[in-house]
Structure formats: C-alpha cells, structure tokens
Subunit: 281 residues, 2 copies
Amino acid sequence: MRVLAMLDGTLADPGAPHIRVDDLGLTRGDGVFETVLVVDGQPRELGPHLARLSRSAAMLELPAPDLAAWERLVGIVIGAWTEPGEMAVKLVYTRGPEYSGGGPTGYAIGLPIGGRAVRNRTSGVTAVTLERGFDPAVVERAPWLLLGAKTLSYAVNMAAMRHAEKLGVDEVIFVGDDGTVLEGPTSTVVVASGGTLRTPPPSSGVLPGTTQGALFRAAERAGWSTKVEPLRADELATADGLFVVSSVRKVTRVHTLDGAALPDATELGTALNALYEAEYR
Amino acid sequence: MRVLAMLDGTLADPGAPHIRVDDLGLTRGDGVFETVLVVDGQPRELGPHLARLSRSAAMLELPAPDLAAWERLVGIVIGAWTEPGEMAVKLVYTRGPEYSGGGPTGYAIGLPIGGRAVRNRTSGVTAVTLERGFDPAVVERAPWLLLGAKTLSYAVNMAAMRHAEKLGVDEVIFVGDDGTVLEGPTSTVVVASGGTLRTPPPSSGVLPGTTQGALFRAAERAGWSTKVEPLRADELATADGLFVVSSVRKVTRVHTLDGAALPDATELGTALNALYEAEYR
C-alpha cells in the first residue's frame, strides 16, 4: 500500500497527479527530502530527520519548514497505514511552482520497505567504490555545491546505483579526489575496528546519517569508541567490519568490496544491529 | 501566457496538477530537459536540441525519446501560442512514476521570455567565476557523474545563480579544478580573440551548446576561425570579448568579470548577434 498526505494535512490518492509541471522540485531538482523508518507505528529518529530537513532547506535557501506541521504529517501517514511491521515515510519539500507565486510544495508518502533491502540486512551486500568527482577541500569554499544537503537532485546518485547494478554489485561507496571515503548514494558508511566505530565527517561533504547517529549513540553506551573523522579508502578492506547504514538498510554488512571478500563480520553486524534496535525498546 | 502539451499531444492546463508525487523526475531529479527558443513561430536549432535530449536521455539510460513525437509536441505548443514575438518551449522528459510501471513522463511547456534576459542581451551583464568542484579529467573515467548531460538535477546550478544574485552579479561562469573554464549554470561560455571564437569542449564535462553551435556555424561562414578546446580561466579577462550564450540569452556580452571591467566588446557583441540572427533569415 501507499499513503499520501499533502503538507496541509489532507490525505490524497498517491496514484493521482498532485504536482504542477512547473514545480521547481521537478524542473530543477530544487528541493529536499528525508526518508524515515517506521516500525510498528513508531517513527525512528524523527527529530534528527526533521533537523536535517531544516538544514538541507537552509542550504537551498528554501523557506524554513514548519517542523510541527511536518511532524503532524508523519503522524497522519502512519495513522492511515494499516499494514503491520515496517514502513518508510518519505518527506518531500520543494520550492514549489515557478509561475504561481504560491510558495513551497510539501508532502509525505508512506511506502512499503522493499524485500531486497530487508533480505540484504541479513545476507550482507557486495559494494564497489566509485569516484564522486570532488575534493572534500572544496566543501567549505563552495557552499553553492550543496555538498551535505539532501536535495532532490539525485540523478548522479541514481546513475551510480545503476552502474553498480550493471557490475552485479549491490551498493556503491563514493570516494573523494583526496582518496577519502565519502558515503553511499543513499547510505552512510561505517567501519568497525578494534572496538571503535568510524564514519566520515560532514565537513567532507557527506550527509550526517540519522541511523549512523543512532548506532553511534547506542554503541557508545555499550562501551564502543566512536570517531567522526576522515577515513582513507584503503582502510575499508582491512577493518573488522564495513557497513552501509540508512533508515531502510539499518546496519547492513558489506561482505565483498571491489570484488574481494572482506573479513567475516557476520557476528559484528548482528551485534551492531542489536545495539541499534535496542535504542527503540 | 503559458501553454502545456503532454507527450501524447493533448493540450492541458499548465496551472493544474499533472505529475504524480512519486515521479522520479521529482523525487530523484531523474530526467532531462531542453529549452528551445521560438521566434515568430519558428523554433530555433530544434534538431540540435532534440539530438541533445536523446544524448542526455542515453546518459541517464532513459528509454530513447521518440523524436518525431517531441517535434510534433513543439509544433502543438507553438500552434496554441497566440502572442507575437519570442517564446521558449521547455521539453521535460523523466523516468516517470516510481510505482506505476507506466513508463516515462514527458511534456512541453510554452513560456514567455523574461524581460531581464531580453534587456541583458543589449546591456550586457556582470559575471563571477565560481568553482564547479570537479576536475575535467574525471569526465571520461566516471560516466555516472553525468557530466555533460542536461538533467533535471539542477539544484547546484540554481544555488550558484542565487549566490551570484547575492553578490549583485547577473551570471556565473563555472571553473574546473584544473583552472579551465567550464560553462554557466544555464549557458555556454564563448570568447572572441583576434578573429577566433573559442568555447570549452564537451570532454570537459560541459553541455555542447545549441546556440553556441549556431553562432560558430554562422561565424565560420563569415570568415571567423572557431575552436572547441580547453580555455584557461585567466584568458577570460584578456579576450577581445566574453559572452554567455544560450537559447534565451542569444549572445549576451559580459562587461564585468569578478568585479573588473572587461575590454569594451559592444560592437563585437552586435556583430556576433547579427551573424547568429542571420542564420534564421
């Protein structure tokens, strides 16, 4: 099933047209989004998701989103969802129609979680490193590049995923021109080594991960060290465990990188997922 | 006025919703576009525009567009346009709704040309060079970066234009990490020096310009040399003339770059525009 609620709180038919052809979200990819995991009716990390929506909107100089209205919207979608188990709520916020003067477009859509994503959480995935084509040093100098904003301009992210699919690989890990790890097209990269979890910093032009944040919070309480710092690409293969992390993936283990098997991190993955899940009990 | 025709050839109300909330053009910037100038009912460079639409679609692995259908669509929009003078027809082609299995979305919309763009053709413009954050050497290595495809993922292009606006500047000229000139967010860069017109090559990750192509064709017949080759950023200020070129801009002279006045290219601009216009008489 799918459930759609427009920003004014009205439920609408997700199969009907609701967007104008001149919406700048469509014609210019000029908008931002979030995907929130919902388990048994409870949205996870909603505060961090809404905070990131605000930060992304600010980077695009969109009107500040009314977070209370967005929170209500998530509740409306969840309330109309009738299937058990997990779902995702996608929030989309655009600059709105170019020729109406009517202001931004906003909606939330409830979606099922894809079967492959669920299976991958258990089986683990293969991944390939791909160049992202920028040097993290540019991030601070050039805010117009919007590095670190979760925008609707995801054509490159989608093209990278198609490229991986042609290679027969499940996931992409982007690498910067300086040889440091960035992120996946729709995930955060986390490595575990000797009791420490590490992830690349937002100053490298990556999104601060909401699920990664929850995992680190849980891990710290369980005695892990955590570091948000640059990570060299050549460290990925030698870590105790490599993970791609997102709302939908949770903590998904990478078992093969660039065609080579990684150290077996099955137990480590199970342990980290248990920590993450314990955040919501 | 605005005129909208959907890809099946039906005219529709441009102020009504026609796009689903799960259209991948909207949620992922996953689509391509073109903007065609129409003068007195005649579309300019329609063949090159449609060829570029095809190339962009191929880079995104979209289904090959039916160019005869798109050409008809442009004719339908022009036929329904009742105002004299110039207009633009924007073609938008997306991967379509994520959850329908119904295939791509396509439409053409007829729009008036903005007064500022028309005035700038005569007055000339100020411009600022901004980093685009990639090295042109990556273009061939990393096709998933879609450099040189005219995609809907234009959030960075729009952010760069907003950045210029805050600086009180009209136009942006993007520069690569290797110090070569790339393009504007929605324009092609052309310099004139000693009887030669130059523009950066597609291998640098820029769009091949349709208006630049027409200008070069016309200039070659009038005895100019033309070169499509890398152009160093430090050559912009010393050229006889610097121009930003697009369907809507035609050949617009840059009179001030990064705050410094450039050599007066008023006459040169008039001459080049006359050459360009002569292509359509």
